[in-house]
């Protein structure tokens, strides 16, 4: 499978809908401090079914919803969509097979997250399994957070071993 597109709306600083096309090869993401680059990685992990708010620099999962800026009021929803070309990916029961799967996670303030694949509501577990079957997912070692290299260097040997377990 390949992830071909990332879409955000109301997720952290991305209050207005944005669309990031992910082509083959190496795509660079640049911009000043605080402009939202790391938020993009968090959006990818969140849409893949991440369960730890702390690992997304949030006290509570609702903290990923746009909380307002000087000219904008806070939002009530946040949504992230991962578009995948599904060659070989087996969709969960209830979702018809298709060439393209749009995996959406949407959170509503005080009401939790809803997951959909091509519009059909599914469980968080279905989304997590879909990505796990494709050797990726919210805890994939290939998703290297800012400062994670330093954490790996400073980690106790027992904790470092967990990196290996992802490969096993």
């Amino acid at each position: 499978m390949h992830i071909t597109e990332l879409r955000l709306s109301g997720f952290k600083s991305f209050v207005d809908p944005v669309r990031l096309v992910i082509d083959a090869g190496l795509t660079g993401v640049v911009g000043p401090n605080g402009c939202g680059k790391s938020n993009l990685l968090e959006a990818v992990r969140w849409a893949m079914g991440a369960t730890s708010a702390k690992a997304m620099r949030a006290g509570d999962m609702d903290d990923v919803i746009f909380a307002g800026a000087s000219q904008r009021p806070p939002r009530e929803h946040a949504e992230v969509v991962l578009v995948i070309d599904a060659a070989g990916a087996k969709p969960p029961p209830g979702v018809p097979a298709a060439d393209v799967l749009e995996i959406s996670r949407k959170i509503k303030r005080d009401a939790g997250s809803t997951y959909r694949i091509n519009g059909r509501e599914v469980r968080a577990k279905d989304v997590q399994l879909l990505f796990a079957d494709a050797s990726t997912g919210a805890n994939s070692p290939a998703l290297v957070r800012q400062g994670q290299i330093s954490e790996l260097i400073a980690a106790k040997p027992e904790n470092r071993r967990r990196v290996l377990e992802e490969a096993a």
């Binding site: 083959a24 795509t27 790391s38 938020n39 307002g68 800026a69 290939a142 998703l143 790996l152 490969a167």
Partner: protein, 161 residues
């Protein structure tokens, strides 16, 4: 459980030794699983020797050497089970120009060996100039992020300035 971990360890160690030698243009490195009654509570130790220096644990190396060595480990794990998407958030921050160049050449090699799509978040002009395309994240309106395409040619000129 234990057998799978040992099998993964051998594969990752093989990739790690090779990637280290490529990134440091010589020297040697190896992973070791430290002793423990419970093999699943064993620790992963990293020993490395840049060319011309002495073998030591990761903790005795310089900041940039540690980062490059840890990056070799991340990619060794990656090669053992390549993911369709890899996002690297500012991993090049502690590297000097020569090491950023080697890091980029390793990314080229990963692109050649796998089908993986890479997103590289960076402040480094050398890294920017080695990407296939660039997207800029901006906050024209304070607190509100947007994405714009950045002209790679122009960014490469800026990097060369």
């Amino acid at each position: 459980g234990r057998q799978r971990l040992m099998a993964a360890f051998e594969i990752v160690n093989g990739h790690f030794a090779q990637l280290f030698a490529t990134l440091f243009e010589g020297g040697q490195a190896e992973l070791r699983l430290t002793e423990s009654d419970d093999p699943l509570a064993a620790g992963l130790e990293i020993f490395a020797c840049p060319p011309g220096k002495r073998l030591s644990t990761l903790s005795l190396m310089s900041g940039g050497e540690q980062a490059l060595t840890a990056t070799a480990l991340i990619f060794a794990v990656f090669l053992a089970n390549p993911a369709p998407i890899c996002v690297l958030d500012e991993v090049d921050a502690p590297l000097d120009d020569a090491n950023v160049d080697r890091f980029c050449r390793m990314l080229d090699e990963m692109r050649r060996l796998t089908d993986t799509r890479f997103l590289t978040i960076t402040h480094n002009p050398v890294t920017m100039s080695r990407m296939d395309r660039l997207f800029g994240v901006t906050m024209a309106e304070r607190g509100v992020s947007q994405i714009v395409a950045v002209d790679l040619q122009r960014a490469t000129e800026l990097a060369a300035e």
